[in-house]
Symmetry: C2
Subunit: 405 residues, 2 copies
Amino acid sequence: MAVKLIEPTHVHSIEGIRLAAASAGIRYTGRDDVVLIEIAQQSNVAAVFTQNKFCAAPVTLSMAHLKDDTPRYLIINAGNANAGTGQLGMDAALATTKAVAHHMNVMPQQVLPFSTGVIGEVLDASKFENQLSTLSENLAEDHWLIAAKAIMTTDTVSKAYSKKINIAGKDVSVTGIAKGSGMIQPNMATMLSYVATDLAISSDTLQTLLSQVVSKSFNAITVDSDTSTNDACVLIATGGSQANYETLSIDEQNQFKQTLCWVMQMLAQAIVRDGEGATKFVSVRVEQASHFKQAKTVAYSVANSPLVKTALSASDPNWGRIMAAVGKCDDEDLQLSQASLSINGVSVMERGELAASYTEQVGKQAMQAEEIEIKIQLNLGEAQHTVWTTDLTHEYISINADYRS
Amino acid sequence: MAVKLIEPTHVHSIEGIRLAAASAGIRYTGRDDVVLIEIAQQSNVAAVFTQNKFCAAPVTLSMAHLKDDTPRYLIINAGNANAGTGQLGMDAALATTKAVAHHMNVMPQQVLPFSTGVIGEVLDASKFENQLSTLSENLAEDHWLIAAKAIMTTDTVSKAYSKKINIAGKDVSVTGIAKGSGMIQPNMATMLSYVATDLAISSDTLQTLLSQVVSKSFNAITVDSDTSTNDACVLIATGGSQANYETLSIDEQNQFKQTLCWVMQMLAQAIVRDGEGATKFVSVRVEQASHFKQAKTVAYSVANSPLVKTALSASDPNWGRIMAAVGKCDDEDLQLSQASLSINGVSVMERGELAASYTEQVGKQAMQAEEIEIKIQLNLGEAQHTVWTTDLTHEYISINADYRS
């Protein structure tokens, strides 16, 4: 049911990054479910993680390892989140990183573990260990798409985006993969996503860049308002292109930032397009807000409203539900008598009154599209924010009532 | 699909309150859809309204009228919310109250209008006027159940509760009706509810009592997290019993408060039991929180999680989703390593670890029940709160994708 989303067929390799996938039988059979990513020495790595306080053992351990050392290996599994598993979960995450470290001849704190899948089931670390030889033998620079497939859970399409630009006379690439489809409202993080560039970027700058871009990509999406226990986004700069971010001109730095932002926005939007049960891809754009937080609050209130989402699934221009979702925000400064609303360019409300040109007929027509932009102008200030979301369908209920069976 | 909810067959009349219903054809045919409630002189009236900033014209007008005078008449219609209708909506609300005032020989500001139904359609005030003779002729003290039926929209069962107690040698009754089924997460207010007692209560005390009880009843429920544009709860004290709240002993006052609270909780719970598509009635009880706001935030986070609600509909003991919904709350003080969880008395987590006695089998069995209590003990303090909610089903999607068609 993915909305205008097709399987990726090609991405640029990143010098300094090798990937491999294998079938460990953690939950699925007949498909890859573990991924090893090797990061060349001298690379820098930044990461953001879920803010969910019920976060998974691999999240806790990855955060600790990142403080201690620069990662050389990422080990990822799909099918089991290793969340809510208490001390047994932490033991499994530790055992996994130790096994990888031993096999690859690095320190355990140079390995970051990531898990995604069902919460609350104990992860069998020995299943990884059995695959370490296969994984290390198969490491290759052109295995991004294989890795993108291996980390999928309820995803119906794998997600990989890539762009090559020329900066300061050097070819510089940005390539990323992601997975995610349900339990999607990242909070200062994402579902699992791994993005790399061959530009050299210092560690501090890399973390700043990641935070800036995440706020406009993975932190601007929602499928069902539920924040995962396992979200993580890793950004790696290998320096393999021989170009260095710090010596670029401001214009060249902006060119790179735009490229990074494009890759991460495409990945984030791909998660929404592949949202569980989605039949619509919806942009909720809030303009003329007093401040950024207000724009974001209003956008998420509309994007998460079950009544707005069911109306979207029925292509019903029930705009009263949109305005009710704006109005329910806990924000004393909202003045809806001055607000305007349009749906795919069709003006519905103008400063609190029904637009003279609006008819049910034109509203219905606008709502038929697979891609919908809901634009709300608050007429209060200059701030703006866009959130991407899906509709809410029978298929979402079916997927989530049956996920574990 | 209402969960253990049956049509009410009898309530106690309240001396000083007369009601009538009629069929005005506002949206429905072949059923009553307007209600007139007459309040005897000397009564006091308190009310709370939706905090949605996109509130309906009748809400704005009722709030203004309440400041000016003590109401003598409430005029209520179902089928059209008169919300999002701009100046035309305010004109219709004003015309309605003027017509009632003229017919009943009171001042317009002594009439409060209430509407519930579809948002964004213009309300034809003349339809009320045609029914005023019928309504005034049919006013009677024993028409509570007729009124409860006439204010229904997507409700499948009408809602009325009543209790009689003896205080200070006098019989005192509390009787209330309510409607609501979707767009339910009242914020400092309710869906439409009208509660009356024949106890005499001063105006200030009445408003205080209403606020206290609403926080434990209508402000403790959610069906779909969407706050309506039209919520209102009115509490009337007629004094018809000849007993007076102010002269009661503390024990007698508490006895009355408990009775009032019982009636309003039963009405609030009835709205949840009749929640759109509901097959389960769910109590989310948070105990041992640091403070009330934390308990409430956690309870609503669980009660509104689409993933928790779909698991409930499938009777799937997917407790990881419950803990993830707790963990996603934006509250730095949450320490989930010390939290415990039980489902209908079955211990699932104890201080952050899976309970030794827990098996998938006992979890599944606990989740089969039509009434589920999810109890979360945070082990942080003494505060507690309970929120009532429903599961999320295919039927909810069907109802809300088709509501206007």
